[in-house]
Amino acid sequence: MTVHAALSYREAIQAALADGFRFGGLHAAEGGAVVRTVLVGPEGTVRVESVRATGDSVPTIVDLVPAAGWDEREAHDLYGVGFDGHEPLRPLVEHDPTLSHWTVHVKGEDAYQVAVGPIHAGVIESGHFRIHVVGDRILHLDARLFYKHRGLERAAEGSSLEHGAAYVGRACAACAVANRLAYAHACEDTRGLDATPELARARTILLELERTWSHLNDIAAVCAGVGLAAGNTHFAALTERARRLNAVVGGHRFLFGAVEVGGSSLDLDADAVRRAREELGRIRGEASRGWRELQFNASFQDRLPDVGVLRPEEVDRLGTVGPAARAAGVARDVRADSPRLDYPGFQPRTPERPDGDVRARLEQRALELGQSFDVLGRLLDGPVRPALATAARSGSAIGVGLVESARGATLCVVEREGDRLARVRLRTGSYANWPSVAFAAADNLLPDFPLINKSFELCYACADR
């Protein structure tokens, strides 16, 4: 890791992009004195390029990497860093009351705005959408999130690396395993620790259990978005079963606390493993049966194609990750390059017709459910015993963890001073994908927005932290 002057920082980013690296995340550190960009290479290698602020600002990279837009706005709002060349630098975390400061100016005959939220009509997290429309046609969408900003990253500063996991875990229940795992990997990276095969196995089981309930939930959510009660209740029932299984296997329905820094205390005897495998087999069978029924429901299928389309070039530009990217045909998945986890020969899958629409995103969940059941079937083949990470090399001040959550690549950066947390940044798949939701909504009908939103099924809590 190098700390650059302003000019060589941009050159370093350009060089990394030319070497095939992609943007992983950007954050302010040392109270805003330094900005760091994490870049992820083709085989999961990581580069961190840092730049020291001069006169409270650093050069922007948003022209080189549009996906850094939110990160730079956040660093400005929370740490007061200016980004030279990022114009206009709209507020993101800060809730500026002046509408023109945070929305795109849309004008024209009959153009008007529909304001939705922060409180929504059902059981939904809080967030505000400002939808610019003519009639029913969406011209543009400005999302204002961070109503749920709890300042978790700042609150975690100064705690021990072990205790820091509590703050990261609290960010989001739906991604508790993925987020804590990215954090644990980052901490272990700073300590020069590697996972043993036993530790990798235990953690991969937990991560795939989380993906299983999450994808079942997402299929139920799309059914609800279309108004198909039979499909919704079928997959909601399976979500409940998957969470009950979590409670049996990991002691908590959302597996809170199951991922720890430096090791795993997951302890399952042969009988417990066998019962878990059998229940997963039953859930798989029921899910396949429900999925088949959905294929033959014409009124359901008619609602899905060509809605909320995201094309591969937009995936690259916006930095879309996870099932949403793969549904557009971009076969990137952190699991294919996860030496700290147990995914030998893992191949990302994409739908037969990777159209990047609601239909493709729904099918992607079903494909990935199959993969998760396969991985779990392979790993649940004998007792799981507590395991510790082992010392492999010397430690470092900054560590990076990258994990594929149910929403996509989740990056965690840990900066430590001795055994204390100096800075932690969690950039979840939801955070990466919110701009894509806004983009995919444009040019669609206003009543389709809830369905488009459901097809991404992002967490607000994960983004707001």
Partner: protein, 154 residues
Amino acid sequence: MLTLLRDLRRLRRTVSLPAPGRGRSLAVRHVDAGSCNGCEHELTLLASPYYDLQRFGLGVVASPRHADVLLVTGPVTTRMREPLLTAHAAMPEPRLVAALGDCALGCGVLGSPGELLGAVDTLLSVDLRIPGCPPTPETIATALLELVDRAHAG
């Protein structure tokens, strides 16, 4: 599709909730005041066939104008203060407030003090407390059904 629906009835038998009474209802408006999304995910499953809370006359309504109970989750962030109070003020009398989950009760909350206001009862008087991190759907269901009884007794 009908084959899917036929199987759902038996799922309820795995949960020990009382038989539905008659002629009672309670309309619930949920407000997320900064939760981690755990309470929301459990609340969503109350509509699943295991619990099927609508058969007890309990439904989540789209507007506070239609609500008897405001069901609040999360540690109440500074940014959710105003929307929460606005929703509460929009409810018709008599109105009840339920705090769902440990964060809403002010227990074990994590975050920066400047971003959080604290437990729901620092802003509104709370009629029902449902502890848990997050409370299971069964815990939530049992608590809400007691509230139905209480509302109709009082």
